[in-house]
Symmetry: D2
Subunit: 143 residues, 4 copies
Amino acid sequence: MSHEDRVRASFARQGLMATLGARLVHVAAGAVDLELTFDERLTQQDGYLHAGALTAALDSACGYAALTPMPEDAAVLTVEFKVNLLAPAAGERFLARGRVVRAGRTLTVCRGDAVAVTADEERHVATMTATMMALEPSGGRAG
Amino acid sequence: MSHEDRVRASFARQGLMATLGARLVHVAAGAVDLELTFDERLTQQDGYLHAGALTAALDSACGYAALTPMPEDAAVLTVEFKVNLLAPAAGERFLARGRVVRAGRTLTVCRGDAVAVTADEERHVATMTATMMALEPSGGRAG
Amino acid sequence: MSHEDRVRASFARQGLMATLGARLVHVAAGAVDLELTFDERLTQQDGYLHAGALTAALDSACGYAALTPMPEDAAVLTVEFKVNLLAPAAGERFLARGRVVRAGRTLTVCRGDAVAVTADEERHVATMTATMMALEPSGGRAG
Amino acid sequence: MSHEDRVRASFARQGLMATLGARLVHVAAGAVDLELTFDERLTQQDGYLHAGALTAALDSACGYAALTPMPEDAAVLTVEFKVNLLAPAAGERFLARGRVVRAGRTLTVCRGDAVAVTADEERHVATMTATMMALEPSGGRAG
């Protein structure tokens, strides 16, 4: 299976991504982008996109970016992430871009950036640094 | 309005909390607990609760915990958070507990802990440290 | 070798701990405390202890706390940490307390808390969450 | 005073930077680089540079990068930072580069990257995301 097929198959099993309406829009080696459309079902109290929705998309984008360079039978698990919210998440749609910063045998560090997209511009609304862990092919958890 | 009334009014405006089925189960000074029920709509690829769903609940619990000691016309904004995932989020329901660690005039630091609850036990599945910012009563953003 | 002997032997090899004047004051299973004395050699621009000095002590305290439950030939490596500064680090001495939150086969999550100690009180000045990784006995790096 | 003069004056008051032997090698709007030379006084137990020494340099580089766009009488305080260690800090010298990601009225988010420099190459050894806070000109602390 290609990178993209593996990522698409796993993504399709993430119930939360369907609930959020997230779409996989780009898959390459070490780089995965997801897209979210603004929806009142995803807001915080002031009507902006909830940080939890952005974080879910960034976490999945980073996890799949980390998966791309791994062996075909590998799986990936989030160890931890940190998110800074840079601006209110106001926009029609949002891109969550996950990129591998350093790929290791067990641990992979990724960076994720979320932008709010309107007709005229992209605005940087959140940045994530995440640590992802490869699961052993047996299905055992390394951690 | 009491702490609890203010928190309940704001929580009711969070579209994402309704979408996730989150419930406000405890509100006290500096302490707010939310509850989530396991649902396939909230999963990651292996059938556990998605880290994004847990994070959304922890972020809201921490934000509301931070709001409780603030003046009545204050509002609160998430500056940043970090989450460590400690164990697979397997369980029938999940509690997300937000607690104030240090309340300042502008910034409040909170800790959030998520536990998976089954008939027999509570298992610690995630821990968050979050920085929350008070918004000026005028509605202006301090940051 | 006992936990304490292993920790003391490794601590003695940390050049930075000697440079900072850090002392190992408590070693137990999953819990290690270091102590720093205030010194102008360790300050930031306003005369408080520099966050980097506190972080170094918290990182070592957490790393050694993580090492205590591991096999005798194991070694430990810091994967990542996050520190929130809660109050200016003013005081005569400082305690950095590292505690294991969850010990895994490969990864251990620790919490570290730094307090400033004066004649009358302990003031909580910083809190860390850290991820530590066990190195394979062969000396290979798992990550 | 120019950006550079203000940063140099403050840097000269940081006792820890002198103790670590850190040098200010680049100051521009939103960008500050510090340099450290490898020294056994700065090591962890395996002879690499201690994560605490790298973190201290990254924290100072990020703090001064955040200070550059602020009014002349402003001061800056670290709210929190997160560091991922990407590779063992082996090298003759190390550069810690602080860059502003988003500058706000009260809070500024910075990214810091540390590289180990040898005759042939630069190796990326650590990455930081930091939140810095402007202090009010009166000297009061906003937080």
